[in-house]
């Protein structure tokens, strides 16, 4: 213990850490009937850390070329000790991270936590979700199997519908006219360098804002929060978050061992696309809606209209802290509560219906 004390003193002398510890020990988390929702953000971050750790391990063997990518993943899951576990955990954790992020976003929205003064936290969180989806989209292609190849072809093709810049964007994403080894190398670059760098920075901002402003107490629960004794962040909340993380870890281990992530067959650009190509589940609500649109709406290409509507909806969602004027003075407007429920119902129902095969 004496060594630890001396180490602490040495660090504190040089870095002036005492105020930080002071802040952490005095930080409190309000308690009320909705305070369970505070754990989703931490859970998302836990899965992100798992992604970073397993991703680094996969990097030791993964080779990002069209010729070697599939074989290298095959090598990882068959020959590398515990490679099967690492790869399976990476794939499952990616999906659970997105799921936790969606749960986090909707719980924050429903509790009106985006309201002033937390606009920047909402905006940084929104961009973090987009980044997570970017991770998912770019990572999906990396094993270079048939499904991922064709799903990427369909997915990147959507970009070409963007007015004016569409063709340029398509070439930028694909590294050429078609999905090739150049696309794979590019996606690999986004997945392991560009996206992690931006995510780390933004996550730092997101967490700093959270620490700076503290937890938001939902409208109408202020009284309850005042009445109940708040939790100390360290150690009580941290330990409770630990419980949630352990449950997440157990879920990951069970999923990875009982439902190992499939590798499929190697992509062959010269074969025709297999039937029923679908993107990852978190794109399904958009994918299925785009498919339902007629070829032309009022003379404009259906997909373009769909993408326009989704972009507009995304912009509205992003600007909710500004558009919901009531929230700025502590009273959320009813319309935005209804909008939140409608959005949740749409996303959940379209995703489930797609899994049930209703849109076939």
């Amino acid at each position: 213990m004496r060594i630890l004390d001396r180490l602490w003193r040495a660090l504190d002398d040089r870095l002036d850490l005492a105020p930080l510890v002071e802040f952490a020990t005095h930080k409190e988390v309000p308690q009320h009937r909705r305070s369970w929702a505070y754990y989703f953000g931490g859970l998302t971050m836990f899965f992100f850390f798992v992604q970073v750790a397993t991703g680094i391990l996969l990097l030791l063997y993964y080779r990002p070329t069209a010729e070697a990518a599939f074989e290298s993943v095959q090598f990882i899951v068959t020959r590398v000790p515990f490679g099967w576990l690492i790869r399976s955990v990476h794939s499952w954790s990616a999906n659970l991270m997105i799921l936790a992020a969606f749960a986090h976003m909707f719980s924050v929205y429903m509790m009106g936590s985006y309201a002033r003064p937390r606009e920047f936290t909402w905006w940084s969180g929104f961009v973090l979700l987009l980044l997570a989806m970017g991770f998912g989209f770019s990572g999906y292609l990396l094993p270079w199997n048939e499904l991922s190849f064709f799903a990427t072809r369909v997915g990147t093709d959507m970009v070409s519908k963007v007015p004016l810049a569409g063709e340029w964007l398509l070439k930028f994403l694909r590294g050429g006219e078609e999905v090739t080894g150049a696309t794979l190398t590019r996606f690999f670059g986004f997945h392991v360098a560009v996206l992690p760098m931006i995510t780390m920075a933004l996550l730092g901002v997101h967490l700093a804002l959270l620490q700076r402003q503290g937890m938001h107490i939902p409208e109408g629960l202020e009284e309850e929060a005042r009445a109940r004794k708040p939790l100390r962040f360290v150690p009580n909340f941290v330990m409770r978050e630990g419980v949630v993380w352990l449950v997440g870890l157990a879920a990951l281990a069970a999923l990875a061992a009982f439902f190992p992530w499939e590798l499929g067959v190697k992509a062959d650009p010269f074969t025709s696309a297999p039937a029923g190509i679908k993107p990852e589940w978190y794109f399904l609500f958009m994918f299925e809606a785009l498919k339902l649109l007629p070829a032309h709406v009022l003379g404009i290409e259906g997909e373009l209209v769909g993408l326009g509507v989704f972009s507009l909806a995304g912009l509205v969602w992003f600007l909710v802290p500004v558009l919901d004027r009531g929230s700025q003075v502590g009273h959320r407007s009813r319309a935005f509560v209804v909008l939140g429920w409608l959005a949740l119902a749409y996303v959940v129902s379209f995703t489930l219906l797609s899994f049930a095969g209703v849109f076939k």
Binding site: Q74, V77, T78, W84, L85, P235, N236, M239, R240, G242, V243, L246, V247, L249, A250, A253, A254, A257, F258, F259, P260, E262, L263
Partner: protein
């Protein structure tokens, strides 16, 4: 008497007209250029459907599209609009050909290598020579005009290239074309042929490959009987006919004691066990002297042949059962999420060895078959071992998971107890 002489003279005149070395120069344009004549223009306007039909077919006819006018076969002057000139016998016009003249008329060009070279450098020019040796040609020479001539199979007008899928002699259509006559039992009875050959062929594995897999290399009537020289293969040449596509089986059969025994008994080689037209997909169950087993056609229980058959059948049964067992086990671990590429390679090896073992049956030598079934056992055994390893790996992973879950659960409980104690 006079009428007979007249008929003979007409036939001779037709043959003489048809036996021209090549069509008259004015009847042929440069190859690749569509023929232009007054014949089709005029015939298209005629009321008689029989006279109109040839002109309607002219546009798709290979001869017409290659610049050969109607006069190329029928003679006359294809450039004249006056029917009296165009169809003047003095200009070599021949109306409808008698059946006996058709082969010679077609052969006047198709047997002329110099002429045919203008259209295709490697087109065969021995069709007429082959036809003359065929059952059809021989019967025609004897005066049987019910027999097939060129136009019976290729059509008279609107003749298409053999590689045109609409041609009556295209692989997928030739069976029906032959069946037009050979499926007519009453007609065939006149020639001592059963007339059920087409129906039998349609039950065969060859026909199944042709129509289900659309494999144009699958044998049809002409593959075994020849096309222009159509004739049934004799007893001694059956194995050569089948051996064209199945050389390994023929080679193994030639090594067997059956080779001499069948020859002595004047039994055809392949046909004795496999039949001729209704060639079914063979199964290992055929081997033996029991009911519906082919060895029993000549052998009976207790003789050397039956003993060999029993040994061969036993070896194959064991090999098949081993492959099936290993395949099932590999499939089960695959469903559990394991990659089994190595085992798949071994199973493929086992299947290949089994096919070789099945070919070795033709030697009727149990030792040679067993050599191959041993390879089957070794390869499927290796696949089975890999599947067993994968099963052990699955158990190891699940055990590991339960231990990890136990550790996680312990940590959870400890944490919850700690939290409770702290917040009490």
């Amino acid at each position: 008497m006079t009428s007979r002489l007249l008929a003979a003279a007409v036939v001779l005149a037709h043959v003489a007209a048809a036996a021209l070395a090549a069509p008259p120069a004015n009847a042929v344009r440069a190859p690749g250029k569509h023929a232009e004549d007054t014949c089709t223009a005029c015939h298209l306007t005629l009321d008689d459907a029989r006279l109109r039909a040839p002109a309607q077919l002219a546009n798709s006819d290979i001869h017409h599209t290659q610049g050969i006018t109607c006069a190329g076969c029928h003679g006359g002057d294809a450039g004249s609009e006056d029917p009296a000139v165009a169809m003047n016998a003095a200009k070599g016009f021949v109306g409808k050909f008698g059946r006996r003249a058709i082969a010679e008329m077609c052969g006047s060009c198709h047997s002329d290598p110099t002429f045919m070279l203008r259209y295709a450098p490697n087109i065969p020019t021995d069709q007429l020579a082959q036809y003359r040796t065929s059952k059809h040609g021989v019967a025609l020479a004897k005066g049987d005009t019910n027999i097939a001539v060129c136009s019976s199979c290729h059509g008279a007008h609107g003749v298409l290239q053999v590689n045109d899928a609409r041609s009556p002699v295209y692989p997928t259509r030739i069976v029906e074309t032959c069946g037009h006559c050979h499926g007519d039992a009453a007609l065939m009875a006149r020639y001592g042929i059963k007339g059920n050959e087409i129906a039998e062929y349609k039950q065969s594995v060859h026909y199944a490959v042709l129509v289900k897999k659309n494999d144009l290399s699958a044998p049809t009537c002409k593959s075994c009987h020849g096309a222009h020289g159509a004739t049934p293969p004799g007893v001694s040449s059956v194995s050569n006919v089948c051996g064209t596509c199945h050389p390994t089986q023929r080679e193994r059969f030639d090594l067997s004691p059956h080779k001499d025994a069948f020859a002595a008994l004047q039994e055809p080689a392949c046909e004795s066990c496999h039949s001729n037209h209704a060639i079914l997909h063979p199964t290992d169950g055929w081997i033996g002297v029991g009911e519906k087993q082919v060895c029993g056609n000549c052998h009976s229980a207790g003789d050397a042949g039956a003993t060999a058959a029993s040994a061969i059948s036993g070896a194959l049964e064991k090999a098949t059962a081993t492959i099936t067992g290993a395949q099932g086990r590999v499939d089960r671990v695959k469903r559990a999420g394991m990659l089994m590429d190595d085992a798949d390679v071994k199973l493929e090896e086992a299947h290949q060895s089994l096919v070789v073992a099945q070919v070795e049956i033709h030697t009727v030598n149990p030792a040679r078959v067993e050599d191959q079934t041993k390879a089957v056992l070794a390869a499927s055994g290796a696949a089975d071992t890999l599947a067993a390893k994968a099963e052990a790996e699955i158990r190891y992973r699940r055990t590991g998971l339960f231990i990890s879950l136990g550790v996680i659960a312990l940590a959870l409980v400890a944490l919850i107890i700690k939290i409770r104690a702290m917040e009490r």
